[in-house]
Symmetry: C2
Subunit: 235 residues, 2 copies
DNA sequence: GAAAGTATAATTGTATACATTATGGCAATT
DNA sequence: AATTGCCATAATGTATACAATTATACTTTC
């Protein structure tokens, strides 16, 4: 059987399959980044041609990127009337938080189970927490936000649920934007590090009730930070 | 202020804004339908040009539809190597079920809260259940599956969480495919009707613990039905 | 003077054409 | 005999061109 034969072929270890990032992907990231950095404001109209020109590419990959973003809820697209960046009002944030809590619990439980099966499974999480610790001194806000997302992405990955991870792709983009839009209030870097370290410990402990509570508390902060800016909005 | 003036303009009530379904959307639906009906098998390679030809359109809208399906996890796309329909193995089904339970709980709680605020909120759910009742006699398997999905879509809509509803769009497509692929074992139509009616009653009752349990039981059936076929798979 | 009609510009939607990349077969080389 | 290099083919990725739709400004009409 050819299949069996194929599995016997020695596969080079230690090399990850490289995959070139396509223009649509890059375009989607660029748009999200633009929103997160404030270059494009929530609710603002987005014109394909202008985006394409700014990115130095044609409209086609831009459109594909926008379609994906629409599926993930970061832009709304009305037929023949174009795209508009989603608004991130207080209600939307609460909804996002609810969804995230529900799924993050699942992820944490999955990661917890994976750890019980194989204590090495949470290695990536420790790595991220380690990087966080190194960042506490020099307070790089952007880098810390990235590590925050990276930690949770790792958590959802360790859980080993493909569908879950796919939903995280959408959710994390929302969070990325929210992190970007959040007020400049200095975040408590030591606190962020401590929180994630603690969450990781609880995951490895595997007490379900404690896990649920930890997750709930961990995510609540999100809404907090953003609330100030939102109340400033006149409209 | 122009804004205030605008809000005073009487808006015609009772008419839904009509939006033409775009070719990419139709293409995506067509592909999902083709998988659900068995015309395209899970894991099978999908060539854009052939799809376009079959649908009588060009490749561009097909590509956009495929990108959305990829974001929703129904196809996997490898750069320069094309698309492949996802496989729905037992593990994937379990993962899907876990995610669905977690989110469906959230939806049910939201719907329950909406009902407490306004008893009219669950009206659409009663409608669907009514249609189910009418279908019990003449056992139209396809129609019943549609009502099943329609019920849950209504549930998630009533919950009033946009993000949640967006995720449902992805999940429901998976379920649609699974329903289609499921073995021809006659489903218990009366049972399906009864289950949904009961779920609705529990939602309106609003007992959280009972709700969680009900959801869990309600969704477990999914894996069940498919398990047989999956075990037949040789590979 | 407000509503409806009309022409024009801007933008999106789709199709076609071209460029790039992967795949499979076959010869050449070691 | 196995690996490498090369070529032909097929499919994807991207750009450009055109068609269809919407928005805007202006005119017309009652």
């Amino acid at each position: 059987m050819a299949i069996i034969e194929a599995t016997l072929v020695p596969v080079q270890e230690g090399v990850a399959p490289l995959r070139p990032r396509s223009l649509p992907d890059q375009a989607a990231d660029a748009i999200v980044q633009a929103v997160a950095s404030g270059a494009i404001r929530p609710g603002e109209r987005v014109v394909e041609q202008k985006l394409a020109a700014a990115l130095g590419i044609s409209r086609v990959p831009v459109r594909e990127g926008l379609r994906v973003l629409a599926a993930q809820g970061l832009v709304t697209v009305t037929p023949h009337r174009g795209c508009r960046v989603a608004e991130f009002d207080e209600q939307g944030l609460r909804q996002l938080k609810d969804v995230r809590v529900a799924l993050e619990r699942l992820a944490a439980r999955g990661a917890s189970a994976a750890y019980r099966t194989n204590p090495q499974a949470t290695r990536p999480l420790h790595d991220v927490v380690g990087q966080m610790a190194a960042l506490v001194e020099r307070g790089d806000r952007f880098a810390m936000s990235r590590l925050d997302l990276q930690f949770h992405r790792a958590l959802w990955t360790v859980a080993g649920n493909d569908m879950l991870l796919r939903l995280w792709e959408a959710i994390s983009r929302h969070i990325l934007v929210i992190f970007g839009l959040e007020t400049e209030t200095e975040r408590d870097f030591a606190g962020i590090y401590r929180q994630h370290a603690h969450l990781l410990a609880v995951v490895e402990a595997g007490e379900l009730a404690a896990l649920d509570e930890e997750i709930e508390g961990h995510i609540k902060q999100l809404r907090h930070m953003y609330a100030d800016q939102d109340s400033q909005k006149t409209r």
